[in-house]
Each structure stands twice: as C-alpha cells, then as structure tokens.
C-alpha cells in the first residue's frame, strides 16, 4: 500500500505476477512487499508453508524455488515472478506419500509437525544433490531448520531411510 506523510491511504501499489506453484500457474496482483510465504499461504491457500519466525532462522517456511530451497519468509512474492515453486503440498501423488514423507512417518520424525514441511523440503533438496549422504552431511544439510520436539535423531533416520528408498528407484 502507499500512504502519504500524514498516513492517508493512497491505495495499494501492486504488480501482476505469475508463478507456477506445484505445477499450476497462479496469476495475482500483489503488493511488492508481500512475502512469498504469505503469498503461498494466503493467495494460494498452501498452509503447509508454515510461518515460525519470519526472520529466516527456523526454516518452517522452506519451499523450493527453481529447484533450490528458499526460506519463503525472507523473499518477496514479486521475486518469484515467472518461477516455479514447489511446496510440501506438491509432494504426495495420487494420495500416496512421497518417500520422504513416508520415511518421516515411519521413523517418528515429527511430533507437533510445525517444522515438518520445512524439514521435508530441505531433505528433498539434500537428497536431490546428494542421494547417499553421510550422517554428518545430513546434519549439515538440515542445519538451516529448527525442530524443538524431536531432538533430530529420528529426522536423521528418516533421511537415511528415504535415501535408501529413493536410491532404489522412486
């Protein structure tokens, strides 16, 4: 929005963007200051993008932009114009969980679940870049995400299990 010096409302300045979200093109008029996280949650209805800290530390809002993870609370929707975004909602196919989601479930790698979307997306990038990571590489690969419930050990096991399964042919 724009306001003059007295605070009077002068109508919002908006920009049209077109973003491919989970394979579908979404066109919207957005304010330049709209965070990508809020665009995905409020304009696209993708609540799996969780907002935990809004200052780029917790990683709950992690999504993939052009195949690379970004913390969507730290970028603006206008920066994603013309790009492809994938959120956790895009992973399960025909009602079947993605192998990463499946592994998180089987190894009890989530409790309250608020950080889970971000961990799943961070794991996806990690395994795309390194299909057979060592424990240390997993720890480093997930160091941008905070989980307060699990103590991480079951998350490592989920990543290892997912890696085994995805190596075996997704």
């Amino acid at each position: 929005m724009s306001t003059d010096s007295t605070g009077d409302y002068d109508g919002p300045v908006t920009e049209e963007i077109s973003v491919t979200v989970n394979g579908e093109t979404v066109t919207a008029e957005v304010e330049p200051r709209l965070k990508l996280s809020d665009f995905l949650r409020n304009e696209c209805g993708l609540h799996g993008v969780r907002v935990g800290c809004e200052h780029g530390v917790c990683g709950a809002c992690t999504v993939q932009q052009e195949g690379r993870t970004v913390k969507s609370c730290l970028s603006y929707a206008v920066q994603a114009d013309g790009m492809e975004i994938e959120t956790v909602e895009g992973l399960a196919e025909d009602g079947s969980l993605h192998p990463i989601q499946e592994a998180f479930h089987e190894t009890h790698a989530l409790q309250c679940g608020f950080c889970t979307s971000g961990f799943v997306m961070a794991t996806k990038e990690l395994l795309e870049e390194n299909p057979d990571p060592s424990r240390e590489e997993i720890e480093t690969g997930l160091a941008d995400n905070i989980c307060r419930c699990t103590g991480y050990q079951n998350i490592y096991e989920a990543v290892e299990r997912a890696a085994d399964r995805m190596e075996g042919g997704e």
Binding site: M1, T3, T6, G7, D8, Y9, E31, R33, L34, D38, N42, L46, H47, G48, V49, R50, V51, G52, C53, E54, H55, V57, C58, A60, T87, V88, E89, L91, A92, L97, Q101, F104, H105, E106, H108, L110, Q111, C112, G113, F114, C115, T116, S117, E136, I138, E139, T140, L142, A143, N145, I146, C147, R148, C149, T150, G151, Y152, Q153, N154, Y156
Partner: protein, 791 residues
C-alpha cells in the same frame, strides 16, 4: 528401546505408527492461524521500555488510516467493565497479587506489556498502524535479576515495595541444623539457572468469532488446556458466560508449557471481536513471542549438603531467589515452590531438607512452568551438589549416588519434603545406564587422556519427577485454585465403533494415537474403530489439559476408567442376552462369554447395538453405552531414571564436544514405546540446549538482548549427539494403567548430566562449578583463570 520392539499382540504397549502424521506431512493440517482466513487482523503495541509510567497514548493517527478498523487502549478495556485481571492459579501464604490488566493503563512493567491493539483489514496494515500510535513514557529504572530485586530501589508493583511476591519455606529447619552439626563435611554450591525461552515453533495465536445475536463467542487458540482458558476468560478477564464461550485448540505446534497460560493476547483478540461484532485473528511475531511467551527457570540458589565421609547424605539446605517476571502467571507461584522444593530429595534418602524460596517481581517477561517445571530446577540443584560433594570427598559420582539411593523395598517412600514416592527400582536403572555407557572403561580412558592433556568428562544425573498433576484434594490444600483430575469419555456407537474424548490437549505428543490404544485395549475393539477427540470445549465435557507429564497417567487413567465402566455395563447387558448371571460372564478381547460354556458368547459390538436398540436389556438398565469419568489420581506418579553424558572439552577453545548420551528412563508402563522414545529424545535436546547453548539475557534496562532466534541459540541438528536410550518398567501401583508419564523426564535429567560432565572434565583445573549455558567462552574463561600464569 529400539532393541525391544514389541512383539506382543496387545495394542497397549506396541509402537503403532501415529495417526496424526499424514495431514501434517501433506501440509493440510490446520493450526490456529488457518482458522479464520477472512478475519480482520489484530496487532498489539508492546512497550518500548521495560519500566515506565504511561503519560499518554495517542491513537488518532493510527485510527485515521483507511485500512484500520479500530484502535483500542487500556482505557477502552477498562471502560468496557470486564473483570480484566489475569489471575494466578495457585496461592501461597502472604502472596501479593497485583492486578494484571490485558492492556496496561498507567504503567508498563516489562517490554511485553500491551499498550494498544490495532484491528486492521490485514496483518501488514495492522502492524503498519502500530507505528502511528504516539506514546509518551516517563521512563523508570528497571530491575531484572531476582536476587537483586529484593534489595533494589526499583519497585515493580506498589503492592510489593521490596518486590517480594512470596517467601516460601518447606521442611524441618531444626532437623537440618542438627544434620549439619553432626555431619563430617559440608559441601556448598552457589548456582544460577538462567531463563529458558520455550520456543515452540508455532507462534502463539488466537482467532475469535462473535455472534451478537446468540452471544456465542468462539476462540481458536494455541492452547494446552482449552477448558482452563475458557474458565479464566469467562471469570477473570472477559466476563463472558462460560456456557457461551467455546475454546478450540486445533493442531498446536509445540508448547512445552508456554501455551498453558492465559495471556492478555487471546483476551484482547476475543474482546476486539466482541467490540466490533466481526471475526478477528492475531498471531504473535517471533520477536513478540520472545518477550511475551512465559519464560522458564530464572533461579539464583545457594545450597549446602551435609554429608559424611562415607558419602551418606545427612541433610540439604537450599535458598533460592526465583524470578517471577513483571506479572504473576497462573503457575508462577506453584512452579518454584511446590513443584521445586518437593523434589529436592531426588532418588535419595535425605533425612532432613529445608528449602526457602523468595519469589521476586522483576521488569521482565513473566516466568512460569517450562518443560520440567520446578522439578528440573530442583533435580539440577541436588544432582549438582551431590557431584560436588563426591568431588570434595574423593568419591566416584556413581558411588555417592548408590550409597544414598532409596531401595525398592522402601516404597511407598515419604521424603522429608512432603512427597510420597510411589515405586522405584532406582539402582536397576542406574546400573543399566552405567553399563550402556561402559562407565568403568570410560573412567580408565579419562585417566589415560588426561596424560595427553585431553579432557574427557562423564556426567551422571539421577532423577525423580513428580508427574501426573495432581490429586485434587492435596493440590487444594496447598493452594491450587484448580483440580487435578482429568475427564475422559468413552462412547460406543450403535455400529460398534467408539469415540473417546479427553480433556487433555495435544501439542505433538500423539494423543490421538496413544489414547486410542488405551481404549482399544480395554474394550477389545480394533484400533482403527476408535477415534479420539480433544481440544474443543464443545466436544469434551471438561478438562484440565496437558502439562506436568499428566496426559498419559491422568488422561489415560480417565479413559481407562470410563472404558471399564462401559465394559461393566456391557457385561450386564451381555449376561441378560446370554441368560446367565453377571457373575458367570467373563470378558476377554472384546467378547463376553459364559464361564464353562465358551460357545455362549456375544461381542461387545453386538452388545453396543443392543444397548442402543434398548429392546432387550435388563429392566434396571438405561439404553446406550457410554461412560464419563473424572479420574482424580490418588497421588502423583514418579517416573525416574539415570542419564549419562560424556563430553570432551578443548582447553584451547573451551568448546564442549558432547560425544555420547545415554538415557535410561522408567516411566512405568509404556502405551507406545516409539512415542515414549520420541519424548525422551526431544526432552534431552531441550535439556542439552539449556546446558550448552540457551539462556535468555537481559541488559540493565530490561531489554531482552536475546530477543529473537538470531540471538538466542536453539540447538540445531549438528549440535546434538546420537542418543542411546533404554528403559526399565516399574509400573505406578496406583495408576489404572500403570503409567507414570514421560513428557518432561529427559529435560529434567539432561541439564545436570551435561553440566556434571563438563565440570568433571575440568577437574584437573579445579573448577568446581560452572553456570549454564556452558558456552565456549564461559568454559575457556574458567580454564584460563585456573591456568593463569602457566603459559
């Protein structure tokens, strides 16, 4: 536990996968912020200063913005005539209870105090408008430390000129004096337990919808105890009739205590909805959470242990200044008094204990129960001072503990601080932990490494937790303003499936899975035929909520009690159908049969149908098949165990490398070992976080320096070791399902285990204590001080 995967065909006790996971993993699970997407947004102006008089609050410019719906101040709230006083839920003798308004009027006492609330069309607009509110402050000096507060010139509340809210004592002071006179040796430790910021990853949130025609007010919120929130909002803040107020806790993203309390924010949100007659929603920003979510701990303690040269403990004396923050939150008084002082005996037979706690107001965020609440602080004191005594006596830390353990034949064991421990096999768990960590070999290795100037440390922490809050009558006698029961409903449907409702409220613990296991086992029905409802005051009759490791023992106890009532009624109907006497009918695995004539049988599902048809049931029976129980535990439950941490300290940098962590927990019967292990993992991480990384820091002005995730060090994946966990099973003799609870245990044990390990590593430098967090700098300075002049 991982090596003991259950092979039983019982549903209770097996690691069934969680039914909560799928909606979370696919992103469709709805937390509070998803509940009213079209609502107007509330943003709350917090105080710029930790302590100031409010001279004026000018909201005109903010109100004039086109995208702002309304702006409200403390005066507006006062004028509305609501009760407007967030209460403490636990009274202590002489307690000072100043009014805690939902929006400040004349004075602000910490930086989280609300000064005004903006309602705007969206969240961005609401936050923008905060900057247009003009507040004139008359700034006052601030006090932040509890021990300094009692001698300070700063007065937080006029009602407490010395900032003392309460001065609590427990135990026999004369007996302790005698013990100290008689003992061979006295060990003293002065220690501080810094504030912990709970940091549930989901920020607190509330969304409120009001229908003026019906007077129905619905509030979705991040709550660990929706019924408690309903009662407090009805009676203490909003004055809205309790039967017209519905609280819903949808998916809740972690709590660890911080979502127990009634904060101003949900009351402000609901009050705005009523004022405006439209739906409004509020979600804390993370920085807002840091200054408003209740913190934990904040103790400054002087402790002395009277001990004989053979390691026998004669007495313990503790004096603690506990920071309460600027306002009394609900359990701010109970946590550092009855939840703290009564656990100081840990696993030991300590004949005389005396504890004094001075609760002090400071210009800081209110302090209340955080995972381990009181028990964590108490066990930390005892486990630290026992280690210090061992060091001074030249004893092995394991041996001094073994010398003083309460033995299995002494239960029920009454401590000298008013607890009656229910059951325990302390030495068995301790031996298992020492065996797993290879204790003797580690001690050998420690000696060898020291010759190479490498510093390995081994830290043991035993613990007992008073869990399952709590027997109502006992709590009432000690000052509680609430009961400690839990409500559980078990209802068969005519087709034979079952709905369970419980007054607890999950924030990640997996109740929908574990409570279904409890009911399915009791009723002998398939697990998938049981659904669990929680977190909605319209769907659950009453409830006390989830905290204090109570959901398993007390919620589970309520569900089992109701299931047993259902089986009893079903048995009468079955006997009627089978034309047998009730005494001749037995129930096993969902089937009623006549003793000695097993072909004469009927399933509980068939009985359920008959109960709802009502065509052919005993003449004195009502139709229907359901039961509600208010299970009131006869005692606390007492989980226990031994944790061992192994660290290596780099003397050049002070860096602590936590290499091994072994946890042996006994939480009684385990409903779901996978979930128990998960609770232990998470608990360890929080205890390790406190020991090594966390700790809130205020500056002298009362500004929270560690005010966001950028400054406050939450442990990350690479900062935690692999945990090796195991368990023993000593059922609680008085709990209906033998469960003791596990939510807080590991957090209680982990901090002293890690600190003991670091202090043990530094023994060659004559370091006898270090306060948490054991940052590289703090450890390095201790080593540097000890070696000054050596280099």
């Amino acid at each position: 536990m991982s090596e003991q995967e259950s092979v039983t065909d019982r549903v209770f006790g097996s690691s069934v996968e969680r039914r909560e996971d799928r909606s979370i993993l696919t992103g469709v699970a709805e937390y509070t912020d998803e509940k009213l997407p079209d609502a107007a947004h509330v943003a709350i102006l917090r105080s710029q200063y930790a302590h100031a008089t409010l001279e004026s609050v000018d909201v005109d410019q903010a109100e004039n913005r086109d995208d702002v719906v309304a702006v409200f101040t403390g005066a507006d709230v006062e004028e509305s005539g609501i009760p407007n006083d967030i209460p403490t839920a636990w009274s202590l003798p002489g307690l000072v209870t100043p009014q805690y308004r939902i929006i400040a009027t004349d004075k602000v006492r910490h930086t989280g105090d609300a000064i005004a609330a903006v309602v705007a069309e969206d969240r961005y607009a609401a936050h923008n408008a905060l900057g247009d509110i003009d507040v004139t402050y008359d700034r006052l000096d601030a006090v932040t430390e509890p021990d300094e507060a009692v001698d300070s010139d700063v007065t937080v509340h006029e009602e407490a000129p010395d900032n003392v809210a309460f001065d609590f004592t427990i135990g026999d002071a004369d007996a302790v004096s005698e013990a100290f006179s008689a003992a061979d040796h006295v060990t003293s430790v002065d220690l501080e337990q810094p504030r912990i910021i709970p940091n549930a990853v989901e920020p607190r949130a509330a969304a409120a919808d009001y229908d003026p025609d019906s007077d129905d007010l619905t509030v979705w919120m991040t709550s660990q105890n929706p019924h408690l929130h309903r009662m407090l909002m009805s009676t203490a803040t909003l004055g809205h009739p309790e039967h017209k107020l519905r609280i819903v806790a949808p998916e809740v993203g972690g709590g660890f205590g911080s979502k127990i309390y009634h904060y101003p924010d949900e009351a402000i949100t609901a009050w705005c909805a009523k004022q405006l007659g439209r739906a409004v929603t509020w979600q804390a920003t993370r920085r807002e959470g840091y200054i408003t979510d209740c913190h934990g701990r904040d103790h400054v303690t002087e402790a002395q242990l009277a001990v004989d040269t053979d390691g026998s403990i004669r007495g313990l004396r503790v004096e603690t200044h506990a920071g309460l923050g600027a306002h009394l939150s609900q359990f701010a008084t109970a946590t550092p008094s009855y939840l703290y002082a009564t656990i100081l005996s840990s696993e030991y037979d300590i004949p005389a204990i005396h504890c004094r706690v001075i609760g002090a107001f400071t210009n800081t965020t209110p302090v209340d129960a955080y995972r381990g609440a009181g028990r964590a602080e108490g066990i930390y004191v005892t486990e630290r001072i026992v280690d210090a005594a061992a060091s001074e006596l030249g004893m092995d830390p394991a041996e001094i503990r073994r010398t003083n353990l309460i033995s299995p034949d002494e239960f029920p064991f009454e401590t000298s601080v008013a607890m009656v421990y229910d059951s325990g096999e302390y030495e068995t768990a301790m031996d298992r932990a020492l065996e797993l960590v290879e204790y003797d070999e580690l001690r050998d290795r420690q000696r060898e490494l020291r010759d190479d100037d490498r510093y390995l440390g081994i830290g043991i922490a035993n613990f007992v937790e008073s869990a399952g809050l709590s027997p109502s009558k006992a709590a009432g006698e000690l000052g509680a303003a609430a009961g400690g029961w839990e409500a559980g409903v078990v209802r068969f449907h005519p087709s034979g499936t079952v709905t369970v409702a419980c007054g607890t409220a999950d924030q990640g613990q997996g109740h929908r899975t574990t409570f279904a296991q409890v009911a399915a086992e009791e009723l002998g029905v398939p697990l998938e035929d049981v659904d669990v409802v929680e977190g909605d005051t319209d769907a659950v009759p009453q409830g006390m909520g989830t905290y204090g490791s109570r959901s398993g023992p007390v919620g589970g106890g309520a569900i089992a009690t109701s299931a047993r009532k259902v089986v009893e009624k079903a048995k009468r109907i079955a006997a009627h159908s089978l034309e047998a006497s009730v005494d001749d009918v037995e129930f096993d695995d969902g089937e009623f049969s006549v003793v000695g004539a097993p072909d004469r049988s009927v399933t509980i599902q068939e009985v359920a149908l008959e109960a709802y048809l009502g065509h052919d049931i005993p003449g004195d029976a009502e139709p229907g098949l359901e039961a509600t129980s208010y299970y009131d535990p006869e005692n606390f439950t007492f989980p226990f165990g031994t944790h061992v941490a192994v660290v290596e300290v780099d003397p050049e940098t002070g860096e602590v490398d936590l290499q091994t962590y072994v946890a042996v927990d006994d939480c009684g019967e385990q409903i779901n070992p996978m979930i128990v292990e998960g609770q232990v993992h998470g608990g360890i991480a929080q205890g390790v976080g406190a020991a090594l990384y966390e700790g809130a820091v205020y500056d002298d002005t009362g500004t929270l320096v560690t005010g966001s995730m950028n400054e406050y060090a939450l442990p990350r994946a690479h900062q935690l070791p692999d945990y090796e966990t195991d368990s023993t099973v000593t059922p609680s003799p008085h709990n209906p399902i033998g469960v003791k609870g596990v939510g807080e245990s590991a957090t209680i044990a982990a901090a002293p285990a890690v600190v003991n390990a670091v202090v043990d590593a530094l023994e060659p430098f004559d370091v006898d204590h270090l306060d948490m967090p054991l940052s590289n700098e703090r450890v390095w300075r201790a080593i540097d001080a000890a070696t000054e002049g050596d280099s």
